[in-house]
Amino acid sequence: MKKTSLPFLWTFGFLAIALLTSIAIGSVFISPWEVWRTLIGQPSTEAVQTILLSIRLPRTALIALVGAALAGSGAAYQGLFRNPLADPYLIGVASGAGLGAVLAMSIHWPYTNLGLLAIPAAAFLFSLLTVLLVYLFARVGTSVPVTNLILAGVAVSSFTGALTSFLMLRSTGELRHALSWLLGGVSLVGWSSILALIPYLAVGLGVLSLSGQALNLLQFGDEQAAQMGLDTRRAKFIIIVAASLVTAAAVAFAGIIGFIGLIVPHVMRIFWGPDYRRLIPLSILCGAGALLLADVLARILLAPQELPVGIVTALAGAPFFLWVLRRAKSLGHW
């Protein structure tokens, strides 16, 4: 019993440290003592209160949720496609979201609560439509071979990507907005965005966490899994829907952040093995922590400037992964 809960203790600890770091560090220096005092409700200066509670805390919450979503769905996609290079954007979520967002940006929405939700809503809608399109293209009779999914995903992603670029070229006024959205990252986040995100993530990530056994069986191939009693069509459908929902929601609010969905599951696999019943929940927790740390770096590397967090994940993620890979090799893990 102790052995199986050890990885969760580690990842929870990692996440806790990442959360605290994200709240305590920013471009304005606030001493840890002051941070602690404000968090437990003691009065402090208005500026510190605003910075901690209205800027850092919601941002920390959103980044943690997005990291969890991306890593969880990345692990699920890697299991579904039986491909170590799979990431959450493989079947068109990112390109669809980009198209939706750029389309929404070319319209001047009224300044109302609904109008301000237009861009994330459009991104969300278009990403799901894109996945649906990919799914329909990939279907062969009643089954959905994963090779078809990947091919259709690549084709549809290229197409929507080209449409997005075309739209961006034609509306030079909104180019800046579109570019900064596509690079990913969050700046000022309202609690309403986080509340809007939570239901999708709770349901989607919950479903994915429970799909561990199905994914384990799918590793043997569709036929074998069916012979072992798995309804492969239903399982694949559920996993695709849950993972896409989760990724679409994350991208709608945070733009396109790469590498977390690809690398975190691999690192979890190297440390604690490929059992998807454990891998998905561990990836969820560790993904949250990893993206939080990347966001902290994004804030302090070029302070007072801020880097888009997608750039930090790319720059930091790749070498880190290579290091973990080397370590695993030397320890004889493969």
């Binding site: 199986t4 969760f8 920013g26 471009s27 304005v28 500026a47 605003t50 910075i51 509670l53 209205s54 800027i55 850092r56 805390l57 919601p58 919450a61 943690a64 949720l65 929405w109 009224p110 300044y111 109302t112 609560n113 109008g115 301000l116 861009i119 070229l169 034609r170 509306s171 030079t172 006024g173 800046r176 907005h177 900064s180 990252g185 700046s187 000022l188 986040v189 309202g190 609690w191 309403s192 986080i194 509340l195 939570i198 993530l201 709770a202 990530l205 919950g206 966490s209 429970l210 561990g212 019943r277 929940p281 969820i284 007072p304 400037q305 801020e306 888009p308």
Partner: protein
């Protein structure tokens, strides 16, 4: 095992959502009005997004998040009241002494809060979501819409003068600007031929340069300066079209203005582009470098842009 995990996970999710402080109540949104002249009663304003702004008195600690706003603030005499600017604000030279708090949509929000501004002046170059974000932090934001005409620009100067308490000196500034524009308009009466003007925005690919088209401010200024916009002459309808070099050969503009000269494009390089050396404008040496900021920033320097264009296109009227 999994059930335990789900329990832990759901508890965690609930804790996260319970940690939230409720968002500051948003001000009741007033419907968007297309008004160029805002309602001013005491110190209540309606901004470009239709929001109602109330100030206790003229703003003393202003953060400008657009280069055009920085120019306007200094033009109305409020330069000393600016405590923060965006990265791209570079005119007038004094603004460089004001600390920069970010750019390209990613602003250093913590520093903005730490500066305790009483007004954040934003423009159409910023997103409405950012306005909402600053509102949620309890900061006062004024969103200045882009002017559609030069007269709209005077109205913007007036608004900012009221926001900052410089009404009288701004009235003088506006008078001077009006006189300068009237002087150009008067000279335009003597114009007999209007040259076709190709305003180049980008020529990284000389076979397909970017230009401006109908509906843009540059187009308006070119027309007012006694010229004909190339896009209009060629029947192009887009605001920022990518023009084929072949169209340039056919429509053969009389003047080429290099709006991209601040990015290093020189007059000599134009003649070296394949196919461009035969153009009327190149042969007659009517290719000119131009400071794009004079026509792209919606501030008082638009008048400078107009004058410069008029002198370029009709030098004989300004002898």
């Amino acid at each position: 095992m999994l059930r335990k995990l789900m329990f832990v996970f759901i508890t965690f999710a609930l804790l996260l959502s319970a940690c939230g402080t409720p968002a500051a109540p948003a001000p009741a949104p007033t419907p968007v009005t297309a008004t160029d002249v805002p309602a001013v009663v005491g110190l209540t304003f309606t901004d470009g997004l239709g929001r109602t702004i109330k100030l206790a008195g003229p703003a003393q600690k202003i953060i400008s998040l657009a280069p055009s706003n920085s120019e306007i603030l200094f033009a109305v005499g409020a330069g000393k009241q600016v405590v923060g600017r965006d990265d791209f604000s570079d005119f007038p030279a004094e603004i460089k002494d004001v600390p920069s708090i970010g750019g390209m949509d990613k602003y250093n929000n913590e520093q903005i809060v730490a500066l305790k501004p009483d007004l954040i002046l934003m423009a159409e170059i910023n997103n409405p979501e950012q306005v909402k974000g600053f509102e949620n932090l309890g900061l006062t934001v004024f969103y200045l819409s882009n002017p559609k005409t030069i007269e709209d620009m005077y109205a913007n100067l007036e608004i900012v003068s009221k926001l900052t308490g410089h009404e009288q000196e701004t009235a003088v500034v506006i008078e001077t600007l009006k006189n300068r524009v009237a002087a150009v308009d008067a000279k335009m009466g003597a114009v007999t031929t209007k040259p076709v003007v190709f305003y180049e925005l980008d020529s990284t690919d000389p076979a397909k340069p970017y230009s401006i088209g109908p509906g843009t401010f540059v187009d308006l200024l070119i027309t007012r300066a006694g010229g004909v916009d190339f896009s209009v002459a060629a029947g192009i309808k887009d605001a920022y079209p990518q023009v084929s070099a072949e169209q340039l050969v056919i429509t053969n503009p009389d003047v080429i203005i290099l709006g991209d000269s601040m990015w290093g494009v020189t007059v000599e390089s134009v003649g070296q582009r394949p196919g461009w050396e035969k153009l009327k404008a190149v042969v007659a040496k009517q290719v000119y470098p131009f400071d794009d900021n004079l026509v792209s920033r919606p501030g008082p320097r638009l008048v400078d842009g107009l004058e410069t264009l008029a002198k370029l296109l009709h030098p004989e009227l300004f002898k």
